[in-house]
């Protein structure tokens, strides 16, 4: 540790000042706009206005719902996938993990775009359904909550799988055989042994997936269209279509509060377990 304060500040301040002026100050001013009364002073009327509009309520609830559903689905699929990957031979494990993270390198525009081809009126899914006689007319899958759900799940599932892989790998090797020897069935093994021991990884993955889903823009924009909005696409519309910067500030604030709340809440879930363990 070097002691020289002046040197330390000279090194650290450019980055800090840059981030503060380009990012922090403008964002804080933007967030404060929603609390400013037109005649001066402060008010929360923009917030009561926002939430009294049923359309906005629907968007808000849809955002929460999609965030929760995507998180839950990615946790369920993530456990199955992570289990399968962890049980592979080392060589195969590396390759499969590579395939799982590969999508993260691809532009989200490209990844979302693909779903149009798959889910569209003449897309593969509709072709298959009609060929199999399941439906007669093409289903409208695109521009729906389902489409957004599928797109978000594909976007964020890799993050959950990676978190769970490292959690499973850090689990004591003998935990599962020990529980089996003691007579636990597979369901009990998962519920009583694996879940508590990998909770931290689940929480990290869950936070990434949930906040990612809340704040994703491209997926709802492309797969939800202009009718099925989430908070981010609503924010964009408020600015680009309605020029309503107060509403944009309100939505921005709600998004940030939701992200932070999710972060804190999930972190608390993770530390609750640490407290239980610490007396040993």
């Amino acid at each position: 540790m070097f002691q020289n304060r002046a040197e330390a500040l000279a090194l650290a301040l450019p980055a800090a000042i840059f981030a503060a002026t380009v990012f922090l100050v403008p964002v804080v001013i933007l967030l404060s706009d929603g609390f400013r009364a037109p005649a001066g002073g402060w008010t929360i009327s923009a917030y009561t206005d926002f939430f009294s509009n049923p359309l906005n309520q629907a968007v808000f609830l849809r955002t929460l719902r999609l965030g929760a559903l995507v998180t839950i689905a990615s946790a369920v699929i993530g456990y199955a996938a992570a289990f399968a990957i962890v049980s592979l031979e080392p060589g195969a494990k590396g390759k499969v993990t590579g395939l799982v993270v590969l999508p993260l390198m691809i532009s989200p525009v490209a990844r979302t775009y693909a779903w149009i081809v798959i889910l569209g009126r003449t897309g593969i899914v509709n072709q298959a359904f009609q060929a199999l006689g399941i439906t007669e007319a093409p289903l409208r899958i695109l521009f729906s909550e389902t489409a957004i759900f599928i797109g978000l799940l594909q976007l964020f599932l890799p993050l959950m799988i990676i978190s769970l892989i490292s959690a499973l790998e850090n689990m004591p090797k003998d935990a599962i055989p020990a529980a089996r020897v003691l007579g636990a069935n597979w369901f009990q093994v998962f519920w009583k042994v694996v879940l508590p021991l990998t909770k931290e990884g689940l929480v990290i993955g869950g936070t990434l997936v949930f906040t990612g889903s809340l704040t994703a823009y491209i997926t709802p924009a492309i797969l939800g269209g202009s009718k099925v909005l989430m908070l981010e696409t609503l924010l964009y519309q408020q600015v680009a279509v309605s020029n309503n910067f107060v509403a944009a500030s309100v939505i921005a604030f709600i998004l940030i509060v939701m992200s932070f709340a999710a972060n804190i809440l999930l972190k608390r879930v993770a530390t609750a377990r640490n407290k239980q363990r610490s007396p040993q």
């Binding site: 450019p14 390198m105 693909a114 924010l235 932070f260």
Partner: protein, 260 residues
């Protein structure tokens, strides 16, 4: 075969199909000979891949995105390396505040960053869109730069710098002679991570576009709204292979995944 031994291959097959399949479809669709984007592709041709290179706006926005990804990441490293060094080697007053401020852009949704920048920097100070995009992308990459570089600095003993000084080097000289060569892998990994992040970034750039000034992903979205031909698929495939290629090479030569 028991139920359990089937579980692993089937799960992996389904998950990988779900994650990679759409990308493969896009790649296949870009070789279509048909007029509209469809799968299975109608015939085989390279016309859409060729077309990508002739669309004027793609060329311009690709140049812009490349400039932002390279310039923004370089700027983030120029700011981030000294800051990481201060955080890891000095008793810095307010270290936690500095750390929070420089890593904050990762927490706040990009669309908000872009809008805030537009409203309170671009408009009041008459900042050009290109400069604004550059600032935004630098701020966006800064958290990654600090995180990756800090991690490699923390893995490097600090007494080698003192040893270098005692052998006659200045403090700055010691940094370039014995610190930089040993964190080069981390810096290059930070660069690649920053490059990919910046290049694929949409929300920050959404509001920051002007006549003829757009990033490539934003341009692709705009193009798709007007023309629904396979050229965007072709472009997506090309970009994806570019990203994958870069990361693959980085992994081979740097062990990229150790750093990120």
């Amino acid at each position: 075969m028991t139920a359990r031994s089937l579980f692993i291959p089937i799960t992996l097959l389904l998950v990988i199909a779900f994650l990679i399949g759409p990308f493969l479809i896009i790649v296949a669709a870009s070789f279509s000979a048909g007029e509209t984007l469809a799968f299975p592709p109608q015939g085989f041709s390279l016309r859409w891949i060729a077309k990508v290179f002739t669309v004027e706006s793609f060329r311009a926005s690709f140049g812009m995105s490349l400039f932002l990804a390279i310039g923004g990441t370089a700027a983030a490293l120029v700011l981030g390396i000294p800051a990481s060094y201060a955080l890891s080697r000095y008793k810095l007053p307010g270290a936690e505040i500095v750390r929070t401020v420089v890593s904050a852009p990762i927490i706040v949704p990009g669309i908000i960053v872009g809008l805030a920048l537009l409203r309170y920097i671009v408009v009041p100070f008459q900042v050009g869109i290109t400069l604004a995009l550059f600032l935004a992308h630098t701020a966006l990459v800064l958290p990654y730069a600090v995180r990756v570089v800090s991690a490699s600095l923390d893995n490097l003993r600090s007494d080698i710098e003192e040893a270098a000084v005692l052998l006659g080097s200045s403090r700055l000289g010691a940094f370039f002679r014995v610190v930089m060569p040993n964190i080069r892998g981390g810096i290059m990994s930070a660069f690649i991570l920053g490059f990919v992040t910046s290049f694929n970034q949409v929300p920050v750039s959404l509001f920051l576009s002007g006549p003829g000034v757009r990033t490539l992903p934003v341009d692709m979205i705009a193009y798709m709204e007007i023309v629904f031909d396979p050229s965007v698929a072709a472009l997506s495939s090309l970009l994806a292979f570019l990203s994958i290629g870069i990361v693959f090479i980085a992994e081979r030569f740097l062990g990229f995944s150790r750093y990120v």
